[in-house]
Assembly symmetry: C2
Homo-oligomer: 190 residues x 2
DNA sequence: CAATATACGGAGGCATCCTCCGTTTTCAAG
DNA sequence: CTTGAAAACGGAGGATGCCTCCGTATATTG
């Protein structure tokens, strides 16, 4: 509608936002979804009030932090649609997720939180894109008749994060997660 | 070694322990694994110190609360070993878990916490029993050649709780969880 | 250089965690 | 029944985290 002429966003605000994202990436990456937001603010060197002004809820902060990661996953999924074998494409995509996640265990809870939260509410463009990309992967498999009906992108993603999250961290983490995921993928066959 | 003769455990201590377990069942059932322990003590009508004396860590409290639930699951698993179709037996056992869990959503995180925690450390008799029972289910399927190699009882249980936990609560919860689990079970086929 | 919209910081109120220790209760020996 | 020590109790208290509120500071614009 009538777009009101607005002032240019203040430089310091933008800088602080950046500092907060940086700090959050660090702190949340280590401490997981329950990490202290006070700590994030401290690390960023801003007041706690500033944090809450930029990101009124924990979720919004997560969301912002993960935008880039999500982008990467979208690109990966879109590339994989080209592949001939849809089931293997899905397997590859899941493996890519595991790789991405392996270095950021702490973010896992947050990831699944983001995925479910905003898929549920459906108002975030980025996650729609991700879901769409994954859905295309699934669709291709379904159309060939290689993948069973009744499995949504949400199902796939939630299961992925659930499995990653439930597994105890440790030297065998990656191996175990991949093993379980493979079973699940096999179950997707028609 | 030389078992020292000890005093009979005090009556009040035992009573308080019971009160605490009762309260914990209630509070944790609602509030989940992050529920306030202060609240548990309040509800039990004992001092917070008393709670911490009986259950020095959150995990130990969970553990105690879930003993009975675990017992029930053990019995169920043992019954199912008799069944002819191992894959369906496993499916049934998983469904039984879902049913048990459905009325106590809040306990989910705690459940998986217990399972992983003490399976990892392997010092709890009860969870060994549970794992053994589930393993027997799997073994039977493996021996018939119906179930693939390389899947442990831990795998099964952790995946179960992971899936239950990741799914958003809601009217479709049960349906969705069962759907995903079925895919996983199908993946277990050889 | 104002004027003002915008952003900042952090104190403060409340909740939770967990420890520590002075007080109370129970048990059992005499 | 006493009585004293072992066992258990309760909750204050210090630490940390959450989030709100508002007085202060500063960037932008005319």
């Amino acid at each position: 509608m009538a777009e009101v002429r607005k002032r240019k966003p203040r430089a310091d605000a933008q800088k602080n936002r950046e500092l907060l994202l940086e700090a959050a990436k660090e702190i949340l990456g280590r401490g997981g979804p329950n990490a202290s937001l006070d700590a994030v603010a401290r690390r960023a060197g801003v007041g706690i009030g500033t944090l809450y002004r930029h990101f009124p809820t924990r979720e919004e902060l997560f969301m912002a932090v993960f935008s880039r990661e999500l982008d990467q996953l979208i690109v990966t999924a879109e590339d994989l649609v080209e592949r001939d074998d849809p089931l293997e494409a899905i397997r590859s995509w899941l493996h890519a997720n595991v790789d991405l996640v392996e270095t950021k265990r702490g973010m896992l809870g947050a990831m699944s939180l983001v995925v479910t939260e905003d898929l549920k509410q459906g108002y975030t463009e980025r996650s729609s894109l991700l879901r769409a990309a994954v859905d295309r992967l699934l669709d291709k498999g379904r159309s060939i008749g290689e993948i069973r009906e009744g499995v949504s992108a949400e199902d796939l993603m939630q299961t992925l994060y659930a499995i990653c999250y439930a597994r105890q961290p440790g030297p065998d983490w990656r191996e175990n997660v991949l093993r379980i995921l493979d079973i699940f993928v096999d179950g997707l066959k028609k």
